[in-house]
Symmetry: C5
Subunit: 375 residues, 5 copies
Amino acid sequence: MNRRKRPRETTFHRRTEPGAAPGTLVADPQAPKPSIHVMAYGPEGAEERVVIDPQELSQLLGKWPVVWVNVDGLGDAAIVAAIGEMFGLHKLALEDVLNTHQRAKVEQYPDHLYVVARMIEQLDHRLDTDQLSLFLGRNFVVTFQERAGDCFDGLRDHVRTGRGQVRSHGPDYLAYALLDAVIDNYFPVLEKYGETLETLEDAVVEKPERKLIVHIHDVKRDMLVLRRAIWPLREVVQALYRDPTVLVSDESRLHLRDCYDHTIQIVDLLETYREVASGLLDIYLSSLSNRMNEVMKVLTMMATVFMPLSFVAGVYGMNFNPDKPGNMPELNWPFGYAMALGFMALVAGVQLYFFARKGWIGSLTPKPEPTNNKP
Amino acid sequence: MNRRKRPRETTFHRRTEPGAAPGTLVADPQAPKPSIHVMAYGPEGAEERVVIDPQELSQLLGKWPVVWVNVDGLGDAAIVAAIGEMFGLHKLALEDVLNTHQRAKVEQYPDHLYVVARMIEQLDHRLDTDQLSLFLGRNFVVTFQERAGDCFDGLRDHVRTGRGQVRSHGPDYLAYALLDAVIDNYFPVLEKYGETLETLEDAVVEKPERKLIVHIHDVKRDMLVLRRAIWPLREVVQALYRDPTVLVSDESRLHLRDCYDHTIQIVDLLETYREVASGLLDIYLSSLSNRMNEVMKVLTMMATVFMPLSFVAGVYGMNFNPDKPGNMPELNWPFGYAMALGFMALVAGVQLYFFARKGWIGSLTPKPEPTNNKP
Amino acid sequence: MNRRKRPRETTFHRRTEPGAAPGTLVADPQAPKPSIHVMAYGPEGAEERVVIDPQELSQLLGKWPVVWVNVDGLGDAAIVAAIGEMFGLHKLALEDVLNTHQRAKVEQYPDHLYVVARMIEQLDHRLDTDQLSLFLGRNFVVTFQERAGDCFDGLRDHVRTGRGQVRSHGPDYLAYALLDAVIDNYFPVLEKYGETLETLEDAVVEKPERKLIVHIHDVKRDMLVLRRAIWPLREVVQALYRDPTVLVSDESRLHLRDCYDHTIQIVDLLETYREVASGLLDIYLSSLSNRMNEVMKVLTMMATVFMPLSFVAGVYGMNFNPDKPGNMPELNWPFGYAMALGFMALVAGVQLYFFARKGWIGSLTPKPEPTNNKP
Amino acid sequence: MNRRKRPRETTFHRRTEPGAAPGTLVADPQAPKPSIHVMAYGPEGAEERVVIDPQELSQLLGKWPVVWVNVDGLGDAAIVAAIGEMFGLHKLALEDVLNTHQRAKVEQYPDHLYVVARMIEQLDHRLDTDQLSLFLGRNFVVTFQERAGDCFDGLRDHVRTGRGQVRSHGPDYLAYALLDAVIDNYFPVLEKYGETLETLEDAVVEKPERKLIVHIHDVKRDMLVLRRAIWPLREVVQALYRDPTVLVSDESRLHLRDCYDHTIQIVDLLETYREVASGLLDIYLSSLSNRMNEVMKVLTMMATVFMPLSFVAGVYGMNFNPDKPGNMPELNWPFGYAMALGFMALVAGVQLYFFARKGWIGSLTPKPEPTNNKP
Amino acid sequence: MNRRKRPRETTFHRRTEPGAAPGTLVADPQAPKPSIHVMAYGPEGAEERVVIDPQELSQLLGKWPVVWVNVDGLGDAAIVAAIGEMFGLHKLALEDVLNTHQRAKVEQYPDHLYVVARMIEQLDHRLDTDQLSLFLGRNFVVTFQERAGDCFDGLRDHVRTGRGQVRSHGPDYLAYALLDAVIDNYFPVLEKYGETLETLEDAVVEKPERKLIVHIHDVKRDMLVLRRAIWPLREVVQALYRDPTVLVSDESRLHLRDCYDHTIQIVDLLETYREVASGLLDIYLSSLSNRMNEVMKVLTMMATVFMPLSFVAGVYGMNFNPDKPGNMPELNWPFGYAMALGFMALVAGVQLYFFARKGWIGSLTPKPEPTNNKP
């Protein structure tokens, strides 16, 4: 895959046209069509369905303590609107569901909470974030995702099998568990970047190549994307466990506080990685300077050694008439040639001696171990 | 258009003379003459007029639930004063209307709010911001713009046709809709900068030319202008939905909160773009160093190869008398010439071998793909 | 005027000696002698006097609603003390009046406010700030300035002629008007710096000369001085319109809020200028690197072209005996000379072709237009 | 030990798998097995035991005013769970005990406090931090450490011998004493870094070698690790002495405030060290530039001196026919050779004189003392 | 004095051993022995004594309204403990007295305040800060200093002679006066640094030498030391005049507010100096680049001028047989030599002309005035 083709998270693409009335639901025509999946459960059991017509949902509401409606794909505004009406979701929130460039946020409406989180996705060579829209009501959780495929399969298993605590709690616990899964999913991605930075660190010291700077820049850029995703998510989780609302129980708040710790850890790691990446840049630049220094030393030594030698050779190539008095008697000396060569060798030798003393020659030979340099 | 001629937003031009009494209304003589456009509406209908004499406005006030007076052009202080008197607007606010270098702000007066926002305008090669002054009263909205042409045409259509919610709400909703239009208009401009940065990023890696640094500097500078415009606007919107005032209804506050999210998104993007632009600078500088390294390697290799060769040639150009013993016997050897050339070829070959091993020669040939470098 | 002689605002010079008792009034012996100017006014009229003996002031106090005593020059501690006693000013405040390195601040005393502001003064090649000490009481304003010459002449005219609102308001309005004049006086200075930065920006791109870095540094330094003056001033104005005190009326608070906006604008501009100046530094450094690159390219091309040529010439200058077999037969070829020259021309031509393809030659010719580079 | 093998604190390794139910206790299979050590004491005496089965602890609880259970090694989730149950510790807290990448934090549970701190450990060439989990209840302190070996031996002696105040106070004092020991242990490590920085500072001025930049980078990186450990610890201590809880007595709060001062001192030192390390980088880079300058001066002087000389020699090596008029009469002058040599010496002498005046020659000789450069 | 020997404030040296019980008083064995000096006074008179045995102090307590005990030297823990017991000082505070690396702080104990300040001391080539520990009670002030010699002699004179206000006020005023003396003592030191920076600024522009970077680094480092001393001191003074305590009277609070202004001024200056020092670094680095550019220009011009000349000389030094047709007819032309020299002169002249037009030659001659560069 070509670098230039890579979609960049830092670029922003247009939401609803400026001038559209607020609250207008317009779906992106290129978005995948929605598929609706419902899990309804209580301490005693669970029911699972794939739903085509949103109207089917009404049969489940009230029958089970918790109904979780998950919609993958936002390509049909009518379906989103229908679900919104059934659960009494606010129009402004639904508009945000369809405009998938929201920052993470939490909004209180009279009888439900609207939470936006950004899920990290790392495909082959791309870092991407998808928007998760979550509505938490008294007896339901509705989630909208941009496309199929998420990190909630473990949670679905818990609901199906009754393992874990999810079945014995209300929808607030489900919302917490969803957010926790989203946040935990950041860690493996960060791990990868940690390893990338280690590789780059070794490379930058040993062989400062031009492509490394692009690598480092890419890592810094991805850190920016991650930071833009995680910072507001941190505030979302904090708001959920702090702000007063009857929709979140005290026990779920304890769990959310734990979840908050994880967001802080991620923020911490991100900042550390950013500083390490900046440090790599410094090393890279100084390595470039070092290389330049070495190239220049080679040049300078060559010039310093050979220029005087060539000059001496040039002198004895002059055509002064040796018959005139005082003109180049050396040319007629026996062994003058050998003496000239010897003089040249002497000059070169003295210079090399001084270069060696200055440490220039040694510094050009590669050092076997630049390592183990800890205080 | 010449770069030097470009008006720069970062430069400030003088407002009312120091020493003038506060509250004095002085129009910029070069500003366009005002043209007054009125829309009056209610749930049942709407009326639209172009007004010459501000006194005509009194007929509309009270007749319709909402009267929106829009003034394009601030070239006549008397008209501004007349409108101000009719709607009971505060003198200090009117003075700010005419001094079009205000930051975005909101000011509460006893019976109206005064809001300043900066509208972005991107003409051909210029980024500019115009001042929008908005007065919100119980049954009116008065807006002043520096010149004709704005982003409110969609909104005007809604008023005329009754589409959307604007006709069924009060002036506070109109004020919200105006601010929303102003803010939404930032997005396409930011998109453009996002694309510019991508182009620059590719260019800076592939061909670090001198003009790129000026491009990058210009982008950073425009980001500064945008930040100076959007930061206070963000606070304005926040103040409108948070601060207690009877002029803004609860429903409008919900909409304003949504609007606030958009300002945060813009701020977020701006910060990201600023950091990306700074990163480009680092790449640019390191690319320059890399180029220099390569130039120096060419020079060093040429010198290292040819200096010894020339020296050898110089030696055999010396005029030592070959008749004297020990003087340059090589010159008389058969095939001495071929041996000398062969020796030179050997020296050059050994050096090139070492340069190749050091990787100097390879690094000078352009690499076809420096890409696909993702962790 | 020589640069080294320029008094620098960033340098601090000693206030009252460490160890002096607090509240001791000691005048700087080099400060100009005080000259006292009084304006007393009310809605009906105004009276103006130059006063020698502070005792004369008692005749005016109580006779007019507002008495404004302005003292230019702080060279006589006794006079300052006498005025202080007459108006009941606090000793600590008077001490600060004489120590003219105070930051802007506002201090509440039981029956008067003490305000310090720094007035900007731009003489020929110097940026300087003077201390304005202002006492606001129920029926008086007392101001102390370091030297004669200020930006209050417009205001004095208003008092004399009754134009503007100053005569119909109390001393709080006068205090506001004085501060407003001080703050408005920053704008023309900032305008100048804006123009300086534009000039520098053009220069730094076109001709990165050594003295530019000193220019940029000086601008940054002056920005520091201005920031040190305006930041606390901003807080002073905010404190005046927010903090509860009977000395400031509600209407004056409205005016002060307006004044506060101006300080924010100044702070905004300063920050922008600082960032622009930093950006200039980056451009400057990269321009230097670019220059170096170009110098190196010239050198490398000269060496690369002429070293092989000289080598060939050197070879044919060798003195191998052409009578021995295999020794330099070319020397005896007809047109061997022309062939050698042709070979050299070929070598040079091929090299120049490659340099041209690499873009080295083009990059050395000055580009006519580095401009119009907007996204 | 090889640099590349060094475990890096900045890398994060995976905690419980994403998708696991919260509150699940899973031990790291590679962690050492737990060994339980108990100290129970009161003003009158103390008892000490190594415990195998957590059930044995119940005999001590209630018998002594304070029971301190210390667990080294977290390799067995069952034992952690058993201890947790015995003391009524919250499941979420126990999960954090086993996931040893927590930031320092304090969490209030209904009847105990959960405190996490990071203990610094500096093995040979590694900086590492271990997690200390501390539960403070009404009559117990439970601590979990990742491995055996800690900084609490002094404290244990105090408990055994009754020295100090620990025996006469409750478990809150013990918790304080533990945190104080953890924090005091940072100082010797910081001292070492202080010394390392001094060594680096001298080295970087005297001999800017390539490995120094890696050293500096390592120090900066370790500072990051330390900062990540100490910043939240600072907040923990502050929360302990500020937040209301019956578990911490007023006297212990006084001690904690003292402890808080120490964390601030550490933070202070860290920031200073970071700035010093950044300063070293600047010196290093400028030293590199200086070196380059010196290398270039050598080259330039050699070229400047010898190029004209070689040119002159080349001119007199030309083969113009001296029999034709005007062609190289010098060659036939008596002492022409000596005159040519003299002319060359003159040229070289003048050049060297100018170089000496420019200060180039002097700057190449090493200066004996670059020191004692204080203002 | 050698640079390496200079004690560095940024290095931290060990306090009481980790593991020592808190509240243990251990004196540094190398610290000077304490000498106790007492001044007791009231509005009517004053008494002054040098005390050997702390028990003597009890005679003065209660006899005079204010007793000021000053202890110079902390080499004897027993004496500190005895004084502490006599005045009822808290053990934790006394421990901090002996550990002289405390940050400035204020701590409230039930019936006394404990204040730590750092006194600046600038010996020959060293910047150092000493710890002043001050206890303020209802009728006493106890101060501990690390060694003899302080900035309180002026204050002592006031007590002795009754000048100033100190005798007519309580111990809170004395405490204020002591802090004021400590803070005022920062000013002359800052002045010196201001002058140093001016000197460096001139030097860095005119002659960028290697040792300057070390100077600048030292100044930045000292600024760090000062900032670490003054920032917390600022908070101390603020806490003293804001926090409610019966120990500080309203009038002393007014004085402390004045004192607070001074700390702000110092902080302000420090920040300015730090920014100026950073700017110097930029100038220094760019000056280095400029120098390099100039060196390279000399080299390039020499090579560009002489390489073609030498080449031409080399061509006419070739030994082609002039008897063969077409071979070097120039050698036999009359005045061929003169023509060759003329051709060389022409080549050199054209090149020099182009160099002059490019501005290379002019830029190498030193400019007489790089000054007077103000906007």
